[in-house]
């Protein structure tokens, strides 16, 4: 198989529960063919069944549903594409209970059940179309390598892309030499990282001398067309801010300098991060699945010359935004939004992006309505119950209506933590659930 080609199978079905066996056969066969172990393929199949039955119970039109099963190298992904207009979108709140089949004993929606069976669960809505994405990752052996020889300081080295075996060795080094909180959760297995790089999920470069000794490395991945997240730089046998770290960072910056990327961010900076290339953006408290808390400063680099813009905001976060914009010298006109008695919807809709590996759920507003407080609090309860302790809320300050969620968020113990310039249509204000009690 070629890593640079999308391998996928596509199935189109009517919204008719009687066809569920066609779907399950399709998913199970495709998942097995794309490399999932039988147990993992079965999880994905069951999740797809839950989603399909749920969609059938919600659809109010006869248009067909399209299901794509994609081989992602280290994962298999199912994507359900459908017209948003065919559904009451509030049914896609992970917490929605109103659509339960009353004849079923199951007290939860198919969405929630499906989300438990997979590693990544996302719901998006854009331009009248909706997507549900389920991702199940391949099982890889966890890195159990013993102690490695001490690394030496490097004098003459080149920064270059690694061979797969060099990449795996780099990951071994990371686990041996670094605290877990500066290594991404998804890097538990060297084989998985090799597949991630091979299939384009992330990029990696190493610093190596002429004899092939590895002195360090750095990884980065596109989160979307405008934002790149990176991990590292990792530098072995070097004092902080060494030439190795700087060269790795410069290589990464140069390689994305003429792309669509606007911002470069790390939420798990290594101790050797050369700070002169970045500015501290804010702090996140990330809780690992085993319960350890990592308070990390996010570092950011804006890749363009900023010529200013306007943002919408609630009065409640105006001081925070003013402080942040002044600190980072981003010229912004803050326009305050408030409801002034106009008619509003009864229901809110919030999409969820769940990353189990990082015990993280990111909430993204789809629609604002009167029940925002109730919905947010229901989300928090549900997500905490699922072991997703890191709950973030992304508010696009380019959309005035998203700011209406601010009072409900603040009341639900969410705190504004950082602003990502141009992270959405406008700047993206990130809130983090701070751990208060939800009644």
């Amino acid at each position: 198989m070629h890593a640079d080609r999308v391998i996928q199978a596509i199935l189109k079905l009517d919204y008719d529960k009687s066809q569920v066996s066609i779907l399950t056969s399709f998913v199970e066969n495709a998942a097995s063919c794309y490399g999932l172990e039988p147990a993992d393929a079965l999880d994905l199949t069951l999740a797809s069944e839950e989603i399909f039955v749920y969609l059938c119970s919600q659809a109010n039109q006869t248009e067909q549903l399209e299901i794509r099963c994609r081989h992602g190298g280290y994962f298999v992904q199912l994507q359900f594409d459908f017209h948003a207009g065919n559904f009451d979108l509030s049914a896609f709140n992970l917490t929605a209970l109103q659509a339960i089949d009353i004849t079923s004993d199951q007290p939860e929606t198919g969405l929630l059940i499906a989300s438990r069976l997979v590693d990544k669960f996302s719901f998006f809505k854009h331009d009248g179309f909706s997507q549900l994405i389920l991702r199940k990752e391949k099982s890889y052996p966890v890195d159990h390598i013993g102690p490695l020889p001490p690394a030496k300081a490097m004098r003459d080295f080149l920064v270059r892309e690694p061979e797969p075996e060099e990449l795996k060795l780099l990951v071994h080094y990371l686990h041996y030499r670094y605290e877990s909180c500066v290594i991404p959760m998804s890097f538990q297995s060297p084989g998985k990282v090799a597949d991630m790089v091979r299939y384009g999920a992330c990029k990696a470069v190493i610093a190596a001398d002429k004899l092939g000794s590895i002195g360090g490395g750095i990884f980065w991945a596109w989160q979307n067309a405008k934002l790149v997240e990176f991990w590292g730089p990792y530098s072995f046998g070097e004092p902080e801010n060494s030439a190795v770290s700087s060269r790795l960072v410069e290589y990464m910056i140069s390689s994305i300098a003429r792309t669509t990327v606007v911002g470069l961010i790390t939420i798990a900076p290594s101790p050797q991060l050369p700070l002169e290339y970045f500015e501290p953006l804010g702090t996140l408290n990330m809780i690992a699945p085993e319960g350890t808390v990592c308070k990390t400063t996010c570092y950011y680099r804006h890749m363009h010359e900023d010529s200013g813009s306007s943002v919408w905001a609630s009065q409640l976060v105006k001081d925070f935004l003013t402080r942040e914009y002044e600190k980072h010298v981003f010229a912004r006109k803050i326009r305050i939004v408030a409801n002034e008695g106009e008619n509003i919807s009864q229901t809110s809709v919030i999409a969820t992006d769940i990353d189990k590996g990082q015990a993280k759920a990111t909430l993204k507003p789809i629609w604002w309505g009167k029940d925002d407080l109730k919905l947010i609090q229901a989300y928090v309860k549900t997500l905490l119950k699922e072991g997703l302790f890191n709950i973030l809320f992304e508010m696009d300050l380019g959309h005035s209506w998203e700011c209406y969620f601010t009072p409900a968020l603040m009341e639900s113990h969410f705190e504004p933590c950082l602003v990502l310039p141009y992270g959405g249509t406008g700047d993206m204000l990130m809130f983090q659930y701070s751990g208060g009690n939800i009644i």
Binding site: V249, R258, D306, S307
Partner: protein
């Protein structure tokens, strides 16, 4: 409308391409950054403006001529250039800025599967134009801030059609001397078109700096680019040109967009080209500005890269994007070098003494 229809129509190489976002007009930036005055040190414009005679031509331009099409192939200007450089008028093509003649040349010689070669840290438009035309851009890393001739030659293959040499290089100011350029042309041995972009030619006083215009009759695969935007202060009118031997210019002419150069630009360029006094005055300004800046930068401990051209690069101990925003609050607009793959560098145009002092004051504040 069907879903994603435009996405399906778009070629892959366009999907992944980032459109260039130009700076906002000065008045807008002044409002946004709350500063009274903007010192434009970002585009290597000439602080002295156009030559006096060109200013007069612009001032006296009859507005009624705006209703008439210009000379479609800049006839009078080509005659003037031929006279100045002792060539034939048909050896010149005039474009709407030198950027346009880059596009003409690329379209004339490249098709899908071909490649061009340039440096990784140089004027970005060669790479951009290739990429958004679906042509591979092969980039040779600089060596000590200079274009690497051997590195470029190693990147050549049977599908290499054009090699772009920015001489002096923007933004490093380094240049290939006559001997190096001639040796390179001989090693390429006619296998590819060699474009020597001399946008900053008129600023260079070094004796060993080559005059590629004098080589074009000798090497049929050589093309020279020049512009009226820098030394001649006509950036706002958009006018530049290329020169080569008859055969190569005949080929490039086939992809030329006629009538793209407006009448005012042609008139102003026609008179500007003779003004050697303006060239001397500008060189003096640049020389004095560089002396002042390099002294001051040394005093505040900031490393710099200063070569030929009306610009220099400064290495900062902070992110150049952050430096840009901070300097803008003092009204000093510089060019960040991240986009040129020089992270944490800024490029500054050598301008008036007042602007240079404002720059130094701004830098002292932020570092």
């Amino acid at each position: 409308m069907r879903r994603h229809s435009l996405q399906k129509l778009m070629p892959e190489y366009i999907k992944n391409f980032e459109a260039y976002t130009p700076s906002k007009p000065d008045a807008e930036l002044a409002k946004i950054y709350n500063c009274k005055k903007i010192y434009r040190l970002n585009n290597n414009e000439n602080f002295l403006g156009p030559p006096a005679a060109a200013i007069e031509v612009i001032r006296k331009f009859d507005p009624k001529r705006a209703a008439l099409y210009p000379s479609g192939d800049s006839l009078y200007l080509r005659f003037k250039l031929a006279q100045k450089f002792h060539k034939d008028p048909d050896q010149f093509l005039v474009g709407n800025g030198a950027n346009e003649v880059i596009g003409f040349t690329l379209k004339a010689f490249c098709e899908q599967g071909d490649n061009i070669i340039t440096a990784d840290k140089t004027f970005a438009v060669y790479e951009w134009t290739a990429v958004f035309s679906g042509i591979e851009a092969r980039l040779a890393p600089l060596k000590n801030f200079d274009l690497d001739d051997e590195g470029m030659l190693k990147l050549m293959d049977a599908r290499t059609k054009i090699i772009f040499i920015c001489n002096p290089n923007n933004p490093t100011g380094t240049y290939w001397n006559s001997q190096k350029l001639r040796q390179f042309i001989q090693k390429v041995d006619g296998r590819a078109v060699i474009v020597v972009d001399e946008a900053y030619h008129e600023f260079v006083e070094k004796e060993d700096y080559p005059d590629s215009m004098s080589l074009i009759n000798e090497y049929p695969n050589l093309v020279t680019f020049r512009t009226f935007s820098k030394m001649y202060g006509l950036a706002g009118l958009r006018i530049g040109y290329l020169a080569g031997n008859h055969e190569i210019v005949d080929i490039i002419r086939r992809t030329c967009i006629v009538y793209s150069v407006n009448t005012l630009a042609q008139d102003a360029a026609l008179i500007a080209v003779d003004d050697d006094g303006h060239v001397m005055a500008t060189r003096r300004l640049v020389k004095e500005g560089k002396a002042f800046l390099t002294d001051e930068l040394a005093k505040i401990g900031l490393p710099y890269q200063c070569g030929e051209g009306n610009y220099l690069m400064v290495k900062l101990p902070i992110d150049d994007g952050l430096a840009y925003r901070k300097l803008m609050t003092s009204g000093v607009m510089v060019r960040t070098m991240t986009g040129f793959r020089f992270p944490n560098y800024i490029r500054v145009t050598i301008s008036s003494p007042e602007a240079m002092e404002a720059l130094i004051a701004g830098l002292v504040k932020i570092v």
